[in-house]
């Protein structure tokens, strides 16, 4: 059997769904951020796979993946800083207890 585009797409769909489940069901804010990173990685696999199998000479998918990595790095830095700031104020990072903005 040979490797095809579908293999990579299904793999990244599985990774994305695992990340989605984690984001929706976890209470620890750090774990939620980790699951978001998992989802971004799954999307990156999709972009690189499309770049490899659909336009192998253009590399546009890889360029897009680089920008996704840049935004993910910025996001994780700001996200963890927010978590640390919340931890200082609340002494807790359980997202079900952080409900200042809840009406």
């Amino acid at each position: 059997m040979t490797l095809g585009l579908t293999h990579y797409l299904i793999l990244s769909a599985i990774l994305f769904s695992i990340g989605l489940y984690g984001v929706l069901s976890k209470r620890n804010a750090v774990i939620i951020l980790m699951c978001i990173e998992l989802m971004l990685n799954a999307v990156n696999i999709t972009l690189v796979a499309f770049s490899r199998y659909v336009v192998p000479m253009l590399l546009t998918g890889q360029v897009f993946a680089i920008f996704v990595i840049v935004v993910a790095a910025a996001e994780v830095a700001v996200g963890l800083a927010i978590i640390l700031a919340i931890y200082r104020g609340f002494e807790d990072i359980d997202v079900t207890k952080i409900n200042l903005l809840k009406w």
């Binding site: 599985i14 929706l24 069901s25 990173e37 990685n41």
Partner: protein, 162 residues
Amino acid sequence: MGLVISFWILAVVGILAALGVVFLRNVFRAALSLILCFLMVAGLYITLSADFLAAVQILVYVGAISVLIILAIMMTREVQQGSPTNRLQIPAFIVAILFLEVLVLTLINTPWQITSAPPLAPTTAALATKLFGEGGFILPVEIAAVLLLSAILGAIVLAREK
């Protein structure tokens, strides 16, 4: 043939590591599992002949982001009681399974425009031409630099002791 075998090894280990992120009770072990998953994704980039991206994945994710995450875990260690789930666990599971099913059905039934052209390798010089060359992505590169600077400043301002 070697490519197929390495793909399956990387895929299975990567999915198991991703499941470990979600299901391990210990937060620190979940972070280590996430790092393993990042490494497997870097290997997958190599099987897709994206050598530069594999190096970037290892440098940025395995090197930098995992260190940040472990730092955050250690700084919030006193309050963590494992990795508990909220009330939405079963609905979230159902939503994730349904989403996966829809995605897989769509992926299988879409006729992709696959070319049989061999991949470009090595990709580093071609990527540099794409990013910095004529008619390339130089404006997004500049914007990315501004975004990174503002993110660093924002992180410092947020995390600083008052």
